[in-house]
Symmetry: C2
Subunit: 252 residues, 2 copies
C-alpha cells in the first residue's frame, strides 16, 4: 500500500458478510443432509445421478455466485484489477459447477422422461444461459482491453442490475426445484409435515435468507467499494484525456 493508510471497513459490513457465509455453509450442509438422509446420497452411474443436480446448483448458482458478487465489498482495499479477476474467476467456477445440469438430462434420458417441460426447467435454464452470457460480456467489457472507458461506464449499471437479478432468478429456480422434487417424491406424505418436507422447506427458507443478506450488502450505498487513491488519480487522467465518464472512478 506504499505506506498509505488503509481505509477503515464500514461498521457492520463484516458482520453481514460473516452471516452470509454462515448461511452459505448451512445451505450446503442442509442440501447434503437432505440428499444423504432421504434421497439415497449421490452417484453418477446410477439412479442417484439426479441428486448431483441440486447439490451443484446450490454450490455453484447460489453460494459461489453470491460470493462472486460480494468480492467488491469484501476486498475493498485491494487493487481493482485483482478484485475484478477474482470476481470473474468465482463466477467462472460457479458456471463450471452449474454445468452439471447435464446430470438431469442424462438422468431423464435413462428414465425416458422428457426435458425442459416444467417452470423450474424454464427458469433454471434461462438463469444459466443468461448467467453465461453475462459472464462473457463482463469479461469482454471489463477484463479484456478494447472497450472504451465511456462504453464501460454505460454498460456497468446494466451489468450490476442484471447480476443481482440473475442471482435472484437462480435462487427462485432452486426453490422451484425443491418444490418439484418434494411433490414427485413425497406427494402423499408432504402434507403430514414429514421430516423430509420440513427439512427441504427449511433449505428453501435458508436460500431466501442467503439471497436477502447478500443483496442487502450489495445494495447498501455506504458499503460500496470506494475508489482507491491511485485509481482516482488514474481515472482523472483518463477523464481529462477522453472527456468521457470514468467507470472505475465511481464506487462499485
Amino acid at each position: 500500500m506504499d505506506g498509505a493508510a488503509v481505509p477503515a471497513r464500514p461498521s457492520g459490513l463484516s458482520a453481514y458478510v460473516a452471516v452470509s457465509q454462515a448461511l452459505g455453509l448451512t445451505l450446503l450442509l442442509s442440501t447434503g443432509a437432505w440428499l444423504g438422509r432421504y434421497r439415497g446420497g449421490l452417484g453418477w452411474h446410477s439412479a442417484l445421478q439426479i441428486n448431483v443436480h441440486p447439490l451443484c446448483m446450490v454450490l455453484g448458482m447460489v453460494f459461489l455466485q453470491g460470493d462472486a458478487l460480494l468480492v467488491y465489498r469484501v476486498f475493498r482495499n485491494e487493487p481493482k484489477r485483482s478484485t475484478k479477476a477474482l470476481h470473474a474467476l468465482l463466477h467462472g467456477l460457479a458456471l463450471l459447477i452449474a454445468l452439471v445440469v447435464i446430470a438431469v438430462f442424462e438422468s431423464h434420458r435413462a428414465k425416458g422422461i422428457p426435458n425442459m417441460y416444467s417452470l423450474h426447467s424454464w427458469c433454471g435454464m434461462a438463469a444459466f444461459v443468461l448467467y453465461l452470457l453475462q459472464w462473457l460480456l463482463g469479461c469482454g467489457f471489463f477484463l479484456l482491453p478494447g472497450a472504451s472507458f465511456s462504453l464501460r461506464g454505460r454498460y456497468k449499471p446494466q451489468h450490476i442490475f442484471i447480476g443481482i437479478a440473475l442471482f435472484a432468478l437462480s435462487i427462485t429456480s432452486c426453490l422451484l426445484g425443491i418444490t418439484e422434487m418434494l411433490l414427485f417424491n413425497i406427494r402423499d406424505s408432504y402434507s403430514r409435515f414429514v421430516p423430509e418436507g420440513v427439512l427441504a422447506n427449511t433449505l428453501g427458507v435458508l436460500l431466501v435468507a442467503f439471497g436477502l443478506v447478500v443483496s442487502y450488502v450489495l445494495t447498501r450505498d455506504e458499503w460500496k467499494r470506494p475508489p482507491l487513491a491511485e485509481e482516482l488519480a488514474l481515472s482523472m487522467d483518463f477523464k481529462t484525456l477522453t472527456e468521457g465518464e470514468s467507470p472505475d472512478g465511481g464506487s462499485q
Copy 2:
C-alpha cells in the same frame, strides 16, 4: 406549480413504465385464461374456491404491489405528500385483495387438507405477513406525524430495500404456487407439453418479466424522483433547525 417549469421526464422511463403495465395486464389475462379455460373458472361456495387465490395474488401481491412501488417514478412532479398517500393506498389495496388468501384455508378445510405444509405456503405467508408489517411501519414512519426527520432518514433505505425484496419474494411465491398447482392437477401430462402446462409456465415467465421491468425502473439512479424546488427549500429549513439528515430532500 405556481408557474414553475415542470422538470422533463427522463428519456426511456415512460417506455419502461408502459411495458410494465402491458405486462401486468397480460399477467391478469393469462391467469384468467388459465383458470377459466383449464380449471373450471371461479366460485366461492364450491370446489372452485381455490381458484380465487391465484387470481387475487397476481392482482394484489404482484400487479398492485408493483404499481405501488412505481408511483414515485411515475408521479415524479406531484407533491411528495400526495405521491406518498397514493403509494400507501395502493399497497393497502394490494393487502386487502391478498387477504383472500383465506380462500385457500376455507378450501383446504372443506377438503380436509392440512394448511401451511408446503414451501409455497411458507414463502407466501412470510411475504404477506412481512408486507403487512412493512405497510404498518411505513404508515407509522412516513404518513403519521411523530417520527423525527433523522429517524425517517435512517429508516428510509431499509424501507426501500425491504419493499423490493418483498416484491421479489411475492413473485417467487407465485411461481411456487403455479408449480404446485400444475403438479397437483396435471402431473402425468405436464411432461407432454400439454397446453395448460405451457400456458401456466408462460404465466410464470411473464411474472418474472414484470418483476424485472419494475425493479429496473426502481433501481435506475437517473430515474429516481428528484425533490421538487419547494421540498428542497423546506428540507433545508428543517436541516438548519434540527442539524439532522433530511429524508425528503434526497431522491426516492
